[in-house]
């Protein structure tokens, strides 16, 4: 059997013949709509660069991120060190590149922990209503009302500093937002006839929530997660800045900024270079998230 790439017509066909064709067609339409948004594509490029840099760090970094040459300390950006060197003579570019791994690690872990948790709680809350809703939302409110950084601080203070604890701390403050969003989304269709129809077929609540409610909450959650990435990066950087996240000598961007504080006036590059990295990556996520929202959740959902 000859395998050929699916043609555009096959993907856009109004009458798909198999489930697979229908799914691929939908994905294709989404991708094309997204591609029409130059800003979103720019954001995607940044995100992909982050992934590539993180994956290929050992090959891309010109020097070791951890070994420094004290005779070379605090050198300004030059052809030998594109981003200059820090107070221990380490190449900042290499540290930024390896720092991408840490950033990615934090961001992905936080997303994986907080989003599904928030989604589930919100969907259950919105679906059942009544006292279940009140209890769950009360819980959500408690966590929502805590300032993110302070709660993270408290957590890390209790468990000790380190990346893993920073991740847990941030995740704990991130899930309430997703719960709220999922609940709001669920409420918009909770009383719709298609839910009544499924109930009338004898489906259990679990089945309805997992197969009918949650899929409808996914797009807004995904969009929100993407947009939140920037905030997560900044919170992690904040924790790093305070010395509570990644511990030295790990090249976490926030920690790098923190140590560069002392030299900010004369050797600005030590703090600013990782700062640029943070800004660019956050921007990438924001732009992509915006584009994703336009495509997944256009005004006036399809009738």
């Amino acid at each position: 059997m000859i395998l050929s790439l699916p043609s555009r017509d096959w993907l856009l066909s109004d009458d798909p013949e198999t489930r697979m064709q229908a799914r691929l067609g939908q994905a294709y339409r989404l991708a094309r709509a997204l591609m029409r948004n130059p800003l979103a594509m720019f954001g995607l490029a940044i995100i992909l660069s982050l992934l590539v840099v993180a994956a290929l760090a050992p090959w891309l970094a010109p020097y070791s991120p951890l070994d420094g040459n004290l005779q070379n300390r605090l050198r300004p950006p030059s052809s030998a060190h594109w981003m200059g060197t820090d107070e221990l003579g380490r190449d900042i570019l290499s540290r930024v590149i390896f720092g991408a791994r840490i950033t990615l690690f934090i961001v992905v872990l936080v997303a994986i922990i907080s989003a599904p948790l928030g989604l589930l709680i919100g969907a259950v809350s919105g679906y059942f209503g009544g006292w279940i809703d009140r209890i769950l939302m009360g819980l959500t409110d408690i966590f929502l009302s805590m300032p993110r950084l302070i709660l993270a601080l408290a957590f890390v203070a209790a468990l000790g500093p380190g990346i893993e604890n920073a991740v847990i701390a941030i995740a704990i403050t991130a899930w309430p937002v997703y719960a709220r969003i999922a609940r709001a989304e669920t409420l918009t269709f909770r009383n719709a006839e298609f839910i009544a129809a499924v109930q009338m077929q004898g489906a259990s609540h679990t089945r309805i929530i997992t197969r009918h409610v949650i899929p409808l909450c996914l797009s807004s959650t995904i969009v929100r997660v993407t947009l939140d990435m920037a905030g997560i990066i900044l919170t992690a950087a904040g924790l790093g800045f305070l010395g509570l996240g990644a511990q030295p000598p790990l090249p976490e961007w926030g920690a790098m900024i923190s140590r560069g504080r002392a030299f900010i006036l004369d050797q600005w590059w030590v703090a600013t270079m990782p700062g640029f990295a943070i800004v660019i990556v956050s921007l990438g996520f924001c732009l992509f998230g915006d584009g994703l929202r336009d495509v997944l959740d256009p005004k006036g959902k399809s009738k």
């Binding site: 229908a22 009544a196 004898g202 009918h212 899929p215 009738k303």
Partner: protein, 242 residues
């Protein structure tokens, strides 16, 4: 087949249906008519389990109904909703929607059954993997009817099944409903405000006014233009006039 006795339903605390009693024989097509707010849809919802706050007795095929609908019940009674736009899950294809009831009850042979049902409701097989937004109102309503029939129920509850459809499409759906009833020996309980539909599709009707049953009559009486009660006749006159 359906026996309702002294049914009182409250919605949000306020009683909306007061002591309604009527029965529908097996294979019969019965209509509940009335203005909006008369409680006709509420009665349907109570039977379907969507309005849990009721007293009185509801029996289907001789068995009394309990609060939450169990599996056996849903295989006997199914519902077709009013709004074709709202009654299908927006992210699930026609195939998904039709396979769902089978999956819930662990019925095998989904492929064959789905295809057979598409044929039975006059939907081309090429629509099988389309999403609701790719279908017209009439096509969606056919899917809704197909879905209701997947579990091979004996009773269909129909809540204004054509009021959201274009006139030309309405005729097709009404014909389909008449065909299906004949072919499968179904019992229909239909709610509508449109009296001519009752003349076409039903054998008997009940007139509701503010939650109370004013009369129950044969449709032949309706066709003559004069119902038993004054209110019923007024409804008929208004319908003909407009």
């Amino acid at each position: 087949m359906i026996e309702i006795e002294n049914l009182t339903v409250a919605f949000g605390g306020t009683p909306v249906v007061h002591g309604v009693s009527f029965s529908v024989a097996r294979g019969e097509s019965f209509a509940l008519v009335g203005e909006s707010g008369s409680g006709k849809s509420t009665i349907l919802k109570a039977i379907a389990g969507q309005a849990p706050d009721w007293t009185g007795s509801i029996r289907i095929g001789g068995e009394a109904l309990r609060r939450w609908r169990d599996r056996a019940f849903v295989r006997r009674v199914q519902m077709v909703f009013q709004d074709p736009y709202g009654s299908l899950h927006p992210r699930r294809s026609v195939d998904d929607t039709l396979s769902e009831p089978l999956a819930v009850h662990g019925i095998v042979g989904q492929d064959a059954r789905v295809l057979a049902m598409l044929d039975a409701v006059g939907l081309s097989r090429r629509f099988r993997f389309r999403l609701p937004h790719q279908l017209s109102g009439g096509q969606r309503q056919r899917v809704a009817i197909a879905r209701a029939l997947m579990l091979e129920p004996e009773v269909l509850l129909l809540d204004e099944p054509t009021s959201a459809l274009d006139v030309s499409v309405q005729a097709e759906i009404l014909n389909l409903l008449a065909d299906l009833r004949e072919a499968r020996g179904l019992t229909y309980l239909l709610v509508t405000h449109d009296l001519p539909i009752v003349s076409f599709l039903c054998d008997r009707l009940g007139v509701l006014r503010r939650g109370r049953l004013e009369e129950v009559s044969e449709v032949t009486l309706l066709k003559s233009g004069h119902l038993q009660s004054d209110y019923g006749t007024e409804l008929v006159t208004r319908s003909a006039g407009h």
